[in-house]
Symmetry: C2
């Protein structure tokens, strides 16, 4: 015997939440397909080294993820895919580390690299001439966040689209349009969401202009700035400088020890873009900054092109804005980055107003495939947080539709079980979902309570009397619920919601009620 | 840098295989819903002790599965859900073992037990009065089979339905009907599959009649008989007796050391049912066996009822047969068991004819929830092996339809990129899937080859000349492929498949070609 429970941060999904989850997936999928993306899938489990380490806030390969050793003993390979041998020329075997995927982007990079591996080894692919691939994918991803905030989960679904093999900035603009189209297809109203765009090159250029050139420093600084929402501007300043003491845990958080003068420059830049506005105005402001390096200019130039395409196609600031303070947590972004914010608040269990925040994220990652292929392959994509969005739509009462249950056949009489089966069979042949009640509760009230929990629209009643007369009783449960508060006279209520029907007219009657 | 590859036994699924996978899932789902099952989901990862050990061929909890320690340090609980404390009354903490689900049945038992846990602790639920639950679920399951046969995978999809909370044998009969209906909805022809039914109680009764009463002995014997397909009758005999040497590996396989006389009795019983026939005849044969114990009689009695229901509803031996030699590998079955065999062969890569074998399995498992709840909860269900079935449909050339790609806009001229976007946007607003080519290949032939790989039905061509004239060229790629072998004159071929269309007439023309 064992105490039945789920792992903390994992959850079961019931029929109503599933209906919502799949409404989101199917809507997004429809839009992705419309833009020419194809459905590809990758495994839940991958070699740790093939996924790499890109999670925000993580310094180690096994940090923030579910990772373990493969039970299978396998050959050890070097980076070129050649088996490693010891001094005696025997092959070296080991149990490789595996990781449950933490997103759908790193596995795509592996898939793409793998498909090119042989061609690349034989020098049949050139940088800048890599094949184009446009794929969408959906599924669970897994993150072991040591501290689990309320409403956050360790297993959650994402639906992604990615274009690999081109650095054409049009695909970055397109990503913004796809996100907007997908969210509206899902049912979000315009002005209830906003796609925010920045360019990592702008932040890189800013840091370069104040003398920060090391990749690691850049990554660390971005990681800290990205925490602004959590730790506030003051917290960010402290972590960039000598560090701080976390108020809740009392833990000492190491600082990056950046010169105060540099920190001021970074903070002042970010501060200048606190207010959003027209894309044109943001671009002007960016151009007016006295930052002259190439990377910064490229960053601004790309945003200008993105604005041009969006404007031509009528994607104005109601849908897409520029936000130079945007960072995104993932370590692999190299160019334009996107985040969709749900504009609006909800009330939590304690009745407090809460902001929703980010529901989608994405960006350009021209270096991710390089990690395994050793060759730059430009790529851009984005991801909708399916479960996050489902939760928000529920919390803000935008989706209240319950999943409809089957027509239920009340089982009064064990001797009539075969008759119930015949009726069910006949209805199913007419494409009507129907269930014979098989539970242990024998009385009508208990069976109707089961039907109510399953949101069954109609009940069919058949006892010995009815059987002998060749009829069944049909009760409209949906109407019954609606009328329950208006009609208190039981007899009148029953007359309104219940009727006797000849067995041969049953299909017709059920279809009449359902439509 | 790391050598890009997948874990052995795991694979990527491309757009065509995905189309087939989801055709199977959506068809089965439709039938399950029609029978009144609701969609519930459980996590991919569970506490190992909550899943238990039921895999065929496995003796240890961690055998045959992907299992590892939770990175989170947690309280230790006893079977009643009370935290365990040491001598000094401090709570005991540990990293619990987690397992990636190996099927969808064990997690359902956990879900059901968890939902009843509190009520059960307060004695608000009685045995025989447990609530009814009918759910379907689909998703990946994971098995670490140390020896991986060709065509077998360590990650594969299943789609299950289960009825929990009733021992009504009608639900067992229903399970057979659901499997048959689902497979036909997926597209299998009648006589191409057969649902085989047995009852574990019959095997239990047989063993009991020869004096084998221990649960562990029973399980071991069934496990060995279940291997008949793999190791043959002689192999089974040897494993029941003193053991055998595996020919391939040379490994010694321990035997159960059962008396020869008993083995003969078991083998003779199984041998008597090598030929299938009418269910009525099998029942008669079972009744004629001189086995008098209660469990055997119950087993036969249940099959009689199942036959009665199936016969009334016209599910004859074309769809469902009885097979008293059927065992099923899972350790949790207690009553009727089902297996669907795909009737037919395919040719493997070497051109050898191969039998397909089992594509679905299921049965009654009245003891599974008991493990965590400490109370018997009757349950029955079955599972379709989605990936197995997809493979068979592919190998037997029954599903050859490729996924259709988007309309492709050939990108000749970077200066016209905005025009391509406008055309794409306009088509999408008319619900046409369309992609602007963004790859690095600039010439027409290369772009058309990309379109061909994606199975694009139509190409749109727009160069400077066409732009100035306000027209585009539309090429029917699908027709072009069909005519390629018939028409060798290039000009004639082009005239047949290609036409110039005014920009404002484009949507109309695309819809005309597509329909």
């Amino acid at each position: 015997m064992s105490y039945p429970r789920k792992i903390k941060g994992f959850r079961d999904i019931d029929v109503n939440l599933n209906q919502l989850r799949w409404k989101i997936i199917n809507s997004a999928k429809k839009v992705y397909k419309k833009y020419g993306f194809e459905h590809h899938d990758t495994p839940v489990l991958e070699y740790s080294e093939c996924l790499g380490k890109y999670l925000p806030d993580s310094n180690e390969l096994a940090e923030g993820v579910y990772s373990f050793k493969n039970p299978e003993l396998e050959l050890k390979f070097d980076n070129k895919g050649t088996e490693i041998r010891d001094e005696k020329n025997n092959v070296v075997m080991e149990n490789h580390f595996l990781t449950m995927r933490y997103d759908l982007t790193a596995p795509l990079a592996r898939l793409y690299a793998e498909s090119l591996w042989d061609m690349h080894k034989h020098k049949q692919v050139k940088e800048g001439k890599t094949p184009l691939m446009r794929r969408y994918q959906y599924g669970q991803v897994f993150r072991f966040e040591a501290k689990l905030d309320p409403g956050r989960f360790r297993e959650f679904w994402q639906i992604d689209f990615d274009t690999v093999g081109t650095d054409n900035v049009t695909t970055d603009a397109e990503a913004c349009m796809i996100l907007a189209d997908a969210l509206e297809e899902i049912g979000l109203k315009r002005k209830n969401y906003i796609v925010k765009v920045n360019n990592r090159k702008i932040i890189k250029g800013l840091l370069l202009s104040i003398g920060i050139t090391e990749d690691a420093d850049e990554q660390n600084i971005m990681r800290i700035i990205d925490k602004t929402d959590k730790i506030g501007t003051q917290g960010v300043k402290e972590e960039l400088a000598q560090g701080r003491i976390d108020k809740k845990s009392g833990a000492k958080i190491e600082g990056l020890n950046i010169k105060n003068e540099f920190i001021e420059q970074i903070m002042s830049f970010l501060n200048d873009f606190q207010e959003t506005g027209l894309r044109k105005n943001i671009l002007e402001k960016l151009n007016n900054k006295k930052i002259e390096n190439q990377i910064y200019k490229e960053g601004v130039e790309e945003l200008i092109k993105i604005d041009e395409i969006l404007t031509t196609l009528d994607f104005d600031e109601q849908r897409v804005i520029f936000d130079p303070t945007l960072i995104r947590g993932m370590g692999y972004y190299t160019g334009p980055i996107f985040e969709v914010e749900y504009v609006g608040t909800y009330k939590d269990k304690k009745g407090r107003k809460r902001k929703v925040g980010s529901i989608c994220g994405g960006g350009r990652y021209d270096g991710l495939v390089e990690k395994s292929l050793g060759m730059k392959v430009p790529a851009v994509g984005a991801s909708i947080g399916v479960d996050r969005l489902a939760e928000i739509l529920t919390l803000t009462n935008q989706i209240t539709e319950l999943a409809e249950g089957p027509v239920i056949i009340i089982a009064f009489d064990d001797n009539l079980m075969i008759e119930y089966q015949k009726i069910a069979n006949n209805l199913r042949q007419n494409n009507i979902a129907v269930e014979v009640y098989y539970g242990s509760r024998k009385n009508l009230k208990q069976q109707l309570s089961y039907a109510d929990k399953k949101n069954c629209p109609i009940a069919i009643l058949l006892g010995e009397n009815e059987y002998n007369k060749g009829v069944v009783t049909v009760r409209n449960l949906k109407l019954g619920k609606e009328l329950a508060s208006q009609i208190t006279n039981k007899k009148e209520w029953r007359e309104r919601v219940q009727s006797e029907v000849k067995r041969e007219k049953l299909v017709e009657e059920i279809l009449r009620i359902k439509n």
